[in-house]
Subunit: 561 residues, 2 copies
């Protein structure tokens, strides 16, 4: 047995073993579980937590971000807040070779520490981040444009849950084989053949995580922690407009790594200057063997085609689709869909875009509703949620970037608005860019319009010949362009089954008859899969065995016993 290769778990493993084992149970049951409370209430987090977190966030503004890592001598500041708040945080700005060299040097000791020690350290990083959850939430809010509660939940608690989920899957995968095994085979009349075999978990190399603007933590944490816990040093390349949440993440990760006796360069921040194309340089670096990316289809496709030395995980654009056939709760359906369209101004990769309704209308608990009545019902629900500016902005947040505003303008030319987008003045933050959702009416033949993603508070009500026609459109558009979510409303079991069959064919997750407090754009860690890897919107799911299994290899050695 090699010195240092037999695992004596780090004390941090013992500290977090219960959490790990609860998470391991959760991923096999896939019922409800969460490790990190999603309520920002002082009853949960303490009286001063919110103010302390806000103060910590504000202390970063206008200064050099405290990170002792390569590139600290050079600085870059690229963020603009959708809420109109000056950020001006200056981050270390390492070169690609510099950051990859530092990461590579940190690899061997981390690899040799073994799965249990790595899990212990990673769970301690999550605990440390959880302790700073309000600081993280403020950073997510002011870079992404999410309203505070959403930033706290999606950007804090749920992101940590998804990280823990990824760690649990990776631990299960790394330990499905024993570290050593005896092998004994009968050999005729002689002594049996006896061997001792050792199975080493070996990382692939340096991992790169390319963050997005809208969900800098939630979309980055699964890949970051799946790669790190399997032994790969991670270079985090944030979106230029959402650096701070990942800088905070890297800061506390490095703090824990150093405390645990490891090289903090196992996690490095690599922000890019405008026009620098650092993401591409890093993605093509020969030492980079894993890339996780969330963002545009164009760049995701480029990564898949060009970063051939790496295993590439992408989440890209899609056409999230709703098929409405009938409902026994028309008000609940409209309220539910209205909330989905309003939340974060529809700037979620899971927000429904294409709502397919039979032109002849639908049967409901309120009697037959015409196509226009269904559209008006959804529009009214959005209208109600956004009528009061103070309440509206706590749901919509702010518009993440100018691209969304341009699409809001462009969409006015493609069809009749059932609901027009309005500008809302944020009561507390007058420079915040706030828009309410628009809903535009289209014909089923308008595939040139609804056949591409209109990211932002833009959705379409599309008149179909029938529910079957709607399912056919779901099947063809999602099959071709992908989707992260699909939904169906029907009181007819046969229609629900047909929708499920269409979803299976198109490779998209389906939600049926959501009328209450569960929304199609939300997925719960440990239970719901996010993305499927079975349609063009994403080449992997968060989080399953396939998401973690290729992040490491087993290297075996055998000796006569």
């Amino acid at each position: 047995m090699m010195a240092g290769m037999t695992e004596t778990p780090h004390p941090l493993y013992d500290r977090h073993a219960d959490t790990l084992h609860r998470a391991l149970t959760a991923i096999t049951e896939r019922g409800y579980w969460s490790a990190y409370p999603e309520s920002p209430s002082p009853w949960v987090y303490g009286e001063t937590a919110a103010a302390d977190g806000k103060a910590a966030f504000e202390a970063y503004l206008g200064g050099d971000f405290p990170l002792d890592q390569p590139g600290a001598a050079d600085r870059v500041a690229t963020e603009t807040s959708p809420f109109g708040v000056a950020l001006d945080v200056r981050y270390p700005h390492p070169g690609a070779d510099e950051v990859v060299a530092a990461a590579s040097a940190a690899l061997p000791a981390w690899r040799d520490a073994g799965p249990q020690t790595r899990v212990g350290v990673c769970l301690e990083i999550l605990a440390r981040l959880h302790r700073h959850i309000f600081e993280l939430a403020n950073a997510v809010q002011f870079t992404s444009g999410q309203a505070f509660v959403m930033a706290f939940q999606a950007g804090g608690a749920h992101a940590l849950d998804r990280a823990l989920e990824a760690i649990a899957y990776a631990y299960a995968e790394m330990t499905r084989h024993p570290g050593t095994a005896g092998w004994e085979k009968a050999a005729g009349k002689g002594d049996p053949l006896r061997m001792t075999k050792t199975f080493h978990v070996v990382p692939r190399g340096v991992a790169l995580v390319i963050g997005c603007n809208t969900f800098p933590t939630w979309n980055s944490y699964p890949g970051l922690f799946a790669s790190l816990v399997t032994g790969n040093p991670v270079v985090v390349k944030p979106h230029p407009r959402a650096v701070l949440p990942l800088a905070i993440t890297v800061r506390y990760a490095r703090e824990v790594l150093a405390e645990a006796g490891f090289d903090p360069d196992l996690v490095l921040l690599a922000p890019e200057a405008p026009g620098e194309k650092l993401a591409s340089t890093l993605a093509l670096h020969p030492a980079v063997k894993i890339v996780d990316f969330t963002g545009s289809t164009g760049y995701g496709d480029w990564l898949e085609a060009n970063a051939r030395q790496a295993t590439v995980y992408t989440e890209k654009a899609g056409l999230n689709t709703v098929v409405i056939d009938s409902t026994d709760d028309f008000a609940g359906m409209c309220r539910n869909l209205g909330f989905t369209l309003t939340l974060y101004s529809g700037q979620m990769c899971t927000t429904s875009q294409n709502i397919l309704i039979p032109a002849a209308g639908i049967d409901t608990d309120q009697g037959h509703k015409s196509f226009d009545e269904v559209a008006a019902g959804i529009a009214a629900a959005v209208g109600k949620l956004t009528a009061d500016p103070a309440r509206a902005v706590e749901l919509t947040g702010a518009i993440v970037n100018d691209g969304v505003l341009e699409r809001l303008d462009e969409v006015t030319k493609v069809g009749e608005a059932v609901l027009e987008s309005r500008t809302v003045t944020h009561p507390a933050l007058p420079d915040a860019v706030v828009r309410t959702p628009t809903i535009v009416k289209l014909a089923a033949t308008d595939t040139e319009v609804y056949g591409r993603e209109w990211f932002g508070p833009i959705s379409f009500v599309i008149a179909t010949d029938s529910t079957a026609h709607g399912l056919e459109i779901l099947r063809s558009t999602v099959g071709e362009c992908g989707a992260l979510t699909a939904a169906v409303y029907s009181t007819d079991e046969a229609v629900l089954d047909a929708a499920e069959a269409a979803a299976i064919d198109a490779g998209v997750h389906l939600s049926a008859n959501l009328t209450g407090g569960v929304f199609v754009n939300q997925s719960a860690a440990f239970s719901d899969f996010h993305g499927s890897g079975a349609n063009p919107a994403a080449n992997a799911a968060l989080t399953d065995g396939a998401y973690v299994a290729n992040r490491f290899r087993i290297i075996q050695s055998r000796r006569p016993a």
Copy 2:
């Protein structure tokens, strides 16, 4: 719940559940286990089994192979036996679109049958193949050039073990999540949120298996059965010189599928005519989503670069390396290495090629041995095994194709032969092409020679400055060119540890101090991993979680409970 999607396992699942569960235990323990006896003895298989199998094999020769599948109207015959036996079997010759269309049409019912039913059917296919193991062994022998016992073991029993191993991994992966789960989340003062979630295992699409000349079954079965059991129809494209073993496989697979009530087009044979490039056409077909390939580095690299619509698993060439530092059993070491070099005339992807020995010689139980004495010891062991033609051919088998003969000629020009290759006349099969191994002496600076694969009975003894130098060569050449096996001989624990560290860095499996009945070129299913996916010789291991996890996706549907 969708009609037909809830699994009521097929009776074949019950029939084979014990085998499945024993295999599931084996893959978590990775000790010794085998499901299919490797001895062709009549005591195991019955008095008439060998003769019946030979007769069944001979009945195929010179005729139309009995396969009722697309392409049966056209026929192709491309095989030439290394043993000089006329084969002339004519196989159905479908076009790419034809075979992919047939496979695609068979997919939905197989997908919807669920994991347990698919496992039951696949294990019945293995049982059926096992019943015809002598027929398979003859087909493997006379197409690959393996001697009979090896063809029976590697091409029959061990191939079936590897198939079962892949099925067990796939089953574990498909069922790590439940088929359905309840989800209940507290919601303040109101009723909890309750959802019912269904998780469907969904295949990727049509799978393509591209077989090789030397191990038509052993190298094809893991991919074939991993893809099939996860719901993907499989198109089997055999090597033009080794069609029969896979034709027999497809025949019995189709027989079982039809008996079990499934479309036999779930498994199809697609042999190619000379120059047709059917493998490439199939590999680029948009409906083909998985490709398994064993063969040359050039073609494997081409597949990885071009079959972008598919997940591609490749096993390619490499530089299998031995580092000799010292031994306490010089005779055993020479005997063990001599056997490895002789078996199947070194035509295994796992046969050692580069044997690195300090120029100053090594310490042994027989005192110090000079470099030349070590080389002579290995050469003598080969000589002893090959001295008697009748015994020799039962180890060496025959030379698989002219490329090997050309390399045997070429290698005479690159260095001094410690052992020259000899032509052996097969006592029973006078047209068999039989050659004994050659061993050529090189300097460590001859990287242009030993830095590429010389597939066949060709190995090099290479003089190094020291053991450390040898390990450095292992690290660099295997890191750059890949390897499927590595071995070390040393009495010094520090050297064994250093070799293990080098193997981990290079990403290659290591065998230490093999002097008895375990050989570096042999890997045992359920215990040894074959290939690692961590060096250029293969992008995946046979068989682990990563090998199966990407062959299917989970599609979820959720409804309020």
